[in-house]
């Protein structure tokens, strides 16, 4: 086993998917000779050639719409959108078409595509390069939303997303790209979609996070009896793991980077309120980004949930008897 960071783990997953299945095509802006602006696709164009790995014109809606056609034809397109903030130009294709092709054609056509895109803050990047808008996609029936948090699950979830018969949005936490390194199994493997991971076991408080907030939550919680659930897949999310944990701990904290109002944490909180409230000993708390336009680098540390903010929420919840 080699020690890989997230970029290397995703690159290895793409390389293995391309090698194993000739239906897999990788494309997007600057993914070929340049290897992607974060080098996630480095070396793939050289190894597989321009029919398998190719640059597109600068057209996000076009990239996703092209992927819809390729997927319907029977291929497995893996499209890169350079930053999550640029998927806004492609939302029509994602929601109007990718999400509902199976339904509109009554199952005659399906849309097994993957849209990979870096997301999230903490990397001092320009405007629209640090968005965390995952909740949009979770509100689209027919779309799966996957957010890895470690090199290992980045590779396994990517391969699961490519194998999945339906469209998947795969959000890569930019802040963790080169921050985390760990041993990653050399062979191709799948981390199942729709299943959460217990990142830290505990019995006094359930903390749910995803993507880059998992790393920060683990730092904040490591000296506390907190069960940290790494959601991994947001849609469909693993209700059973959450409810079982809350039943055990009686306290729930949700940490998300996105703005609070209408964020995916709200869905989790509502679910526990509907189905697990009798287990709760304390109010459900959320630590989130604020309801502000994603700030530029000089202000971003005020907005991103910090270790200290998470810690304060943990201590507040644990103070309930």
């Amino acid at each position: 086993m080699a020690i890989l960071n997230l970029v290397q783990a995703i690159n290895q997953g793409l390389q293995q998917a391309l090698a194993e299945d000739d239906r897999v095509l990788v494309f997007g802006e600057d993914v070929a000779a340049d290897g992607g602006v974060f080098r996630v696709t480095e070396g793939l164009y050289e190894q597989f050639g321009e029919t398998r790995v190719f640059d597109t014109p600068l057209a996000e809606s076009g990239i996703v719409g092209l992927a819809v056609g390729l997927a319907a034809y029977g291929l497995r397109p893996v499209a890169e959108i350079q930053f999550l903030g640029f998927t806004y130009a492609a939302i029509d294709q994602i929601y109007t078409h990718a999400a509902r092709l199976r339904a509109r054609s009554r199952g005659r056509y399906t849309c097994p595509l993957v849209i990979r895109t870096p997301y999230g803050g903490g990397v001092k990047a320009p405007e629209l390069h640090e968005e965390s808008s995952e909740a949009f996609f979770c509100h689209m029936p027919g779309i799966k939303v996957v957010v890895p948090s470690t090199p290992s699950n980045a590779k396994g979830l990517l391969l699961a997303a490519i194998a999945d018969p339906d469209p998947v949005i795969y959000l890569e936490p930019t802040r963790l790209y080169r921050l985390l390194k760990e041993e990653v199994a050399e062979e191709a493997y799948i981390t199942p979609l729709g299943q959460a991971r217990i990142a830290q076991a505990g019995d006094q408080l359930t903390l749910i996070a995803w993507g880059s907030m998992v790393e920060r939550s683990l730092k904040a919680a490591h000296n506390y009896p907190v069960e940290v659930i790494d959601l991994q897949t947001l849609s469909p999310f693993d209700r059973e793991t959450i409810l079982a944990s809350v039943k055990k701990t009686g306290r729930l904290l949700i940490v998300q980077e996105a703005p609070k109002t209408g964020g995916f944490g709200a869905e989790l909180a509502a679910t526990v309120a509907e189905e697990g409230i009798m287990s709760l000993r304390a109010p459900i708390l959320r630590v989130t980004g604020y309801d502000v336009v994603t700030p530029l680098p000089l202000l971003e540390d005020y907005n991103l949930p910090s270790e200290q903010r998470i810690l304060s929420a943990i201590e507040k919840l644990l103070s309930y008897p």
Binding site: L25, T51, T56, P57, A59, S61, G62, V64, G65, L66, A67, V68, G69, L70, A71, A72, Y73, G74, L75, P77, D92, Q93, T96, H97, L101, R102, A103, R104, S105, R106, G107, R108, Y109, T110, P141, G142, K144, P165, D166, G194, P236, R239, E240
Partner: protein
Amino acid sequence: MARETIVQFQIERLEILNPLGEVDSELLPPLSDTQLLRLYELLLLTRLADERALSLQREGRLGTFPSSLGQEAAQVGSAFALNSRDWIFPSFRELGVFLSVDYPLANYYRYWSGDERGLLCPPELNIFPINIAVGTHLLHAAGVAMGARYRSDPAVAVVYLGDGATSKGDFHEALNMAGIYRLPLVAICQNNQWAISVSRTRQTAAETLAQKALAFGIHGIQVDGNDVLAVYRATAEALERARTGGGATFIECETYRMSDHTTADDARRYRDPDEVERWRDKDPLLRMRRFLENRKLWNESNQTQLEDRLRQRLDLAVTEAEAVEAPVAEDMFRYTCHQLSSRQLEQLKECDDGHP
């Protein structure tokens, strides 16, 4: 140093059959008498099936319906040139295309009565679902065209759009890609002069829609869209170009929407009745009939017999469409994704247990 013209472009317009039924015999495509008669039959079938849909709608037996009246030649002439392996990406006003490739008319009627099952394409055809979102489907055609080429499949992706769609961003993104990747794609634009109430001159200041192809580096041509032979010929040439590696073509079929946008619209609010009358003289069926009569291939008695036969076919399609059992709640859920989530399964149960 100099200021000079570095490149010049030209746009062709193709007309073969004029409103009087006269043809340019040099341009006449090599079609047998049987094929010429078949073209006329499809034009008439489209007109009668359209007329029937409007009357069903008035009786409350069909939902909102977009009429194809006046555009039959653009639809039939193009679809007649396709083979069964080609992929079709319709917009929402292509009754004549569906009929020309033998899509079950009962399904077409069912879709417009609000039943999604009407979009289930038979296995021997490749027709994408009717696209209500204007212009977005050109990209799907580009994707399928790229897939076909990747698999060395001789299929061509044929996409139908209107003049309004040429204003959408996806139109430009798709045809730009079709040029860059030299895709086997044919875009057939029915320029029917009106996008609901907005006229063609308010969609673009360009003199023709066909010239938009030039900016993408693909072939573009304008045809008389009410001339079924010109549309057929232009489409056949474009398909041949696509199949032989010559890349994509954009065909502007200049036609006219003789009807309202849909049954929910009243075109008298925004357009001049004289304009409609002028287009009536260019009727696509009339000129084809005159052409066949001039060639002694058609007469009044043939016409009566064909109309009777087609009306019987329509009766059967309506009966078949109306005999289908109503969809059930499960139909809403089952095609959302390949495997329903635990929450969707609970919702399905809740829905099944209750009443609409």
